[in-house]
């Protein structure tokens, strides 16, 4: 077997293996020295320099994956696209978070008077709110705040710019 043939076989084996495949396992299949296998893997790696793929070492084995910079594109493959408007529950929850941030789920639920888990999850999925850390005290509850995306949408720099119509009376 020519080494260039061996290089191609090794590339195919790494691609088709169901778990990361080690130089030792490859060596047993192609009947070449582990050192030779390793240097041929390096050759494949060099050939991959210009393309989308990458040979990665994981858990003592080789694995072909896409280059990390392609992640934003590849994520678009599997992510469902949703254009549904905000529900009333989510809008209420968002208003509370915008005005009271940083705020815990319990505090949101106190204002709304109902459980707000699904509204919070929906706002997290929409990337309108994010976790800001945890509150000191029992249970160390998560604190929520609005995101850059929220500010961008309304053209705001910070929550200080939220309209205060009538709000000071309650504060």
């Amino acid at each position: 077997m020519k080494l260039s043939d061996a290089r191609v076989i090794i590339e195919g084996l790494i691609f088709a293996a169901e778990t990361p495949i080690s130089a030792g396992e490859i060596s047993a299949i192609v009947e070449l020295d582990v050192n030779v296998v390793e240097s041929l893997v390096e050759e494949v790696r060099e050939r991959y320099a210009e393309g989308a793929l990458l040979i990665r070492n994981v858990g003592g084995g080789y694995q072909i994956v896409t280059k990390p910079e392609l992640a934003p594109w590849i994520e678009k493959l599997g992510r469902p696209v949703i254009s549904a408007p905000l529900t009333a529950a989510s809008t209420e929850t968002l208003a509370i978070i915008a005005y009271q941030q940083p705020v815990t789920k319990a505090e949101i639920e106190q204002v709304r008077g109902v459980r707000s888990d699904s509204a919070i999850n929906n706002l997290l999925d929409r990337e309108l709110i994010c976790e800001l850390g945890r509150k000191a005290g029992p249970g160390r509850p998560i604190l929520y705040g609005v995101t850059e995306k929220f500010f961008e949408h309304f053209g705001l720099k910070s929550t200080d710019e939220l309209p205060l119509k009538g709000i000071s009376e309650w504060k």
């Binding site: 590849i74 992510r79 929409r126 309108l128 309304f154 309650w170």
Partner: protein, 246 residues
């Protein structure tokens, strides 16, 4: 069980007939029906001798063949108002079925070749992991305006003002205070019972304490165990439990 293999040789009566036509090297469009019928029946008898079940479809075809054969043996009686040439060949329908079946049998062979060829190609062995697959929201805020947002917030706050706060109307004990107190009562306790926490017989005290432990359970700070209905409620602070059973 060697006989089963022999039965499996033919997919059905069409398959058997096609094989007989091929073995006799005759034209499918001009089948010597008498000879083929004889061979067809001989095959069925051979199956019967081996005590193999013959499916109904093979028997129906035998009947069809015999009917065609007899029609072909009869002298063609001229049908009134119809010239002789246009009388249909009794074999025609069967031949059309055979031609059609033969086409798909060959198509099946083609698929078999495709399968063998495709099996030489291997797809990526590993799944792509660690990608975020949560939904993408186009226009997540829709047409919500800042004014609407502040109006909604104001309404929420005023609703809260107008609503009689349940926990202060009937007593001086607020739920929040009771909650804080229960937390204090539980400090350093591996477990407590509901009756230990209640400090008086007042219904309000019992109700508010009960609401407080429900709230603490909801917040995940305690676990509640009641072994029988209307029985004692055991309260176990959860952080302590974690420390006791690492």
């Amino acid at each position: 069980m060697g006989y089963i293999v022999e039965l499996d040789v033919y997919q059905g009566p069409f398959d058997l007939l096609l094989d007989l036509v091929a073995k006799n090297e005759v034209d499918l469009w001009d089948i010597p029906i008498a000879a083929i019928t004889e061979q067809y029946l001989a095959y069925l008898y051979s199956l019967q001798e081996k005590d193999l079940a013959i499916t109904g479809e093979f028997l129906v075809m035998a009947a069809t063949l015999i009917r065609i054969k007899s029609r072909m043996l009869l002298p063609q009686e001229p049908v009134e108002d119809e010239p002789l040439e246009e009388t249909e060949d009794p074999r025609l329908e069967l031949v059309q079925q055979l031609v059609r079946y033969k086409f798909f049998k060959e198509a099946a062979d083609f698929l078999k070749q495709c399968y063998a060829e495709a099996a030489k190609h291997f797809t990526r062995g590993q799944r792509i992991e660690n990608y975020d697959l949560s939904p993408i929201y186009i226009d997540p805020l829709g047409d919500l305006t800042l004014d609407e947002l502040s109006t909604i917030y104001n309404e929420l706050l005023s609703d809260r003002e107008q609503e009689p706060p349940i926990h202060t109307v009937t007593s001086q004990i607020s739920l929040e205070e009771r909650l804080a107190l229960v937390r204090l009562q539980l400090v350093g306790q591996p477990r407590a019972t509901f009756s230990e926490l209640v400090r008086s017989d007042s219904v309000t005290e019992i109700v508010v304490t009960f609401l407080a432990i429900l709230e603490l359970a909801r917040l995940g700070e305690i676990r509640l165990v009641q072994t029988q209905s209307c029985g004692e409620i055991d309260i176990m602070p959860l952080e302590l439990e974690v420390e006791v059973q690492p």
